[in-house]
Point group: C2
Chain length 215, copies 2
């Protein structure tokens, strides 16, 4: 059903203790994380088996459990990595001083739509995916996910505050709350975009959000 190129063995992988080189960095560990994010953004946590990721990068189980004590810990590392990657991307847009604040957020939205299209709407948001699985997930992951949302919300709120300072939105606008609304709806939009294999839900929601902003 879901074939993957089984092992893009760039370096055919050598056993034994590796040369120390750039420290704190493991080629294998990195490959596992990269593949993990890819697969989990598609299928979520419980629908993904460790073996799937292993065979995708051509890494044996021993290596996996050398780097990660459990699937849960792996998931946690994935969330952390994804959150970091995403926060940087967010900042790239939201702190872009060459654009007015609201336009920055619009640019992010447009970019996200393009990103989903690039993977034919099979990949969604890792945090949203795992968030949906709350009930069958260890509680530590749940808290971690909530924290990530709080962080993203902060960044959007800051951007909205900049818009407020510019007079682009009403002076009495509750930016924190609006940022909350944005992410609530956005995750719903990503879900629908996957389901319909279209970026329309993203656009529809974004339009609604921007026109709904208090003036």
């Amino acid at each position: 059903m879901d074939l993957q190129p089984p092992a893009s063995n760039t370096t055919p992988r050598r056993r034994g203790r590796p040369p120390k080189s750039a420290n704190g960095f493991s080629e294998t560990r990195e490959a596992l994380l990269r593949a993990g994010v890819e697969v989990l953004t598609e299928k979520g946590f419980s629908a993904t088996g460790i073996d799937q990721i292993l065979s995708r990068v051509g890494v044996p189980k021993g290596s996996f459990y050398h780097f990660f004590p459990s699937k849960e810990a792996f998931g946690s590392a994935l969330i952390e990595r994804y959150a970091g990657y995403f926060a940087r991307k967010l900042d790239r847009f939201l702190l872009d001083e060459s654009q007015p604040p609201l336009q920055r957020l619009r640019n992010f939205v447009a970019d996200a739509g393009g990103g989903m299209a690039r993977f034919e709407f099979r990949r969604g948001c890792l945090v949203g995916n795992l968030g949906q699985e709350t009930a069958s997930l260890p509680d530590t992951l749940r808290q971690q996910l909530a924290a990530v949302f709080a962080d993203w919300e902060e960044r959007v709120a800051a951007c909205l505050e900049a818009a407020r300072s510019d007079g682009a939105i009403a002076a009495d606008a509750d930016c924190q709350r609006l940022a909350n609304c944005f992410w609530i709806g956005w995750e719903g939009a990503v879900l629908r975009a996957k389901l319909e294999a279209s970026s329309r839900p993203l656009e529809v929601f974004a339009d609604f959000f921007f026109t709904g902003l208090p003036r």
Copy 2:
């Protein structure tokens, strides 16, 4: 981890061909569907094993595969049942002529929040849950889910049109699109409500939706 009352054997279950009675209706089949909806609204499709449902209602595997040819078919039946149940609930609110149209929608929102609280925010929306799993789901289910959303959207759109006729929202409002927005955001809100174990996201989004409606 997740203990369930293992077999609430009201009728201790008899083998052999059952008496015909009210036709097209099987006690066992019904129990499986009921339990299926309960569990899948919590954990989704792939995180749920058939055995979980079986032991919950005290039904052997043979019976399951007598009534449903596969897990996929079972899932499909669950969606159908849930969609029907939900459509009736929706109508109960949205066609309530004793209330002005927008208030009907508000009432639905309030009821949904109460419903989620009743199960400590562990259960979400079956359609949303499975929608998230798109990538690891058979395509027939995906289409079925999309159809369900289309149906719900229709019902909300009709309600919004009634509001438009009453002059509660702008005469040039695109009700279909607004209904689309509602469900996009609503599913996101349900997701967040589960994650934060709070009905706040539901309220926050609903407020935003109603104040964002064109006048």
